[in-house]
């Protein structure tokens, strides 16, 4: 007797081509082929920079404390230090940070026993070690390198809103992985030569946003491609090799944001 599973035994249905495009984008992201074409070091470079700033500011704070120690003005001193640390939100690391180092000023505590010991939270040192240096030697050798634009652009309305949010503001020291949930990664070049690698203008993270709209213009400001609901399907059709300007508009929680830049098409 035939059963239901037999009905499905030889039944086939081709999924839309879109699936392979998405799959190959995922593969590029999670299992990149060497030599690496996608440079995702930008966001880590940002973290690295934040770590450097943090270290500098911490050094500044310590110097300031030492300076005021000589002046012997406990009240004012404490205020200045507090002001310093609130101005530089970059240095404030959430309490939960596992590897925080507490620097106490023993001299201060001795001279003014009533004053609370001032603690300066420092960024974990390991972050600096594990983070790759922003300039890789390979990047210099490659003529045209595919660098993705990590969008949380300063000019986007989304970024402004984030900056205004008191909770999120304190996290802008690099301890937060900005890749979720507000993250887009836009390439600066793609190679639509049908080799299955980087054939489409793939904006990573697109699916998190509603109404992703893409407009691409050529050098003469003519619109060569536009889509009101972009699904990473632009393969540079009817566009000769060259540089194009894209405007990418998207909605996140009802807020419209825009990212724009240049993208190069290389077929050879």
């Amino acid at each position: 007797m035939k059963e239901i599973k037999d009905i499905f035994e030889n039944y086939e249905q081709k999924p839309s081509d879109e699936v392979w495009n998405r799959l190959s984008a995922r593969l590029d992201a999670e299992m990149p082929v060497a030599p690496k074409v996608v440079n995702r070091g930008l966001s880590s470079a940002w973290k690295w920079a934040a770590a450097v700033i943090a270290t500098v500011v911490v050094a500044g704070v310590i110097a300031l404390i030492a300076l005021h120690n000589q002046g012997d003005r406990p009240q004012q001193q404490q205020e200045t230090v507090m002001e310093q640390s609130t101005n530089n939100t970059e240095v404030v690391v959430p309490e939960s940070e596992p590897a925080t180092e507490t620097v106490e000023e023993p001299l201060l505590a001795e001279t003014h026993p009533t004053t609370e010991p001032i603690t300066v939270k420092e960024k974990p040192v390991q972050e600096e070690v594990t983070t790759p240096q922003p300039q890789e030697p390979a990047a210099k050798n490659a003529k045209k390198q595919n660098v993705r634009q990590e969008v949380l652009p300063a000019n986007s309305t989304l970024a402004k809103q984030l900056a205004a949010d008191p909770v999120l503001k304190n996290l802008s020291d690099g301890s937060v992985d900005w890749s979720l949930p507000v993250h887009l990664s836009i390439p600066n070049l793609f190679t639509p030569n049908n080799d299955g690698v980087n054939d489409f203008f793939v904006i990573e993270g697109l699916e998190q946003y509603s109404s992703p709209k893409l407009v691409v213009r050529d050098k003469n400001n003519r619109v060569v491609y536009q889509s009101a609901n972009y699904q990473n399907t632009w393969g540079g059709e009817n566009c000769p090799d060259g540089v194009y300007h894209y405007e990418f508009t998207f909605f996140y929680n009802g807020i419209e944001s825009q990212a724009s830049g240049k993208v190069r098409i290389i077929r050879a």
Partner: protein, 183 residues
Amino acid sequence: MTASNIELEKIIAGCIENNRLSQRELYESYAPRLFVVCRRYANSEAEAEDILMEGFMEVFKNLKSYRGEGAFDKWIKSVMVRSAISHYRSTKHYRKELLMDEMDENSLVSEDTTVFATLEAKQILAQLEKCPDTERTVFNMKAIDGFSFEEIAKTLEKKENAVRIAYMRARNRLMAALGIDYQ
């Protein structure tokens, strides 16, 4: 559409080396059949595509652990079924839990699915899509992918009775929708 054994071995070796062309070849030859597996478990074609993509990511990541024992077709299909089940589990909190009130716990569940024999896969898929997620998942696992009620209950973290009831409901729902008389 399956590649011959030698060809297949070549493709698999290429995939393990993370060669995009081989990965595409593997995808092209298996996607049409596996997509049907995903369609069975999904409530829409879009969801089926998500499951297919996740499943293939798992395939490419775990291909090293496929040692050539047993048929590759079976292995890749079981990866896809696992992908579908984990997708079901990941959407758990959006779902109302199965209600057991009006069901007699001891009611007999007929596991017979020969009644569907005259139908076409397309028709069944269309009706499966309309089933609630839990019923559809249970029905697929039991009637088509050969899991036992016990295994299903364990995998989906549900009571075995709830699974039996879900299966029966799905079966009755399908039979009613497809115009099959039952006693």
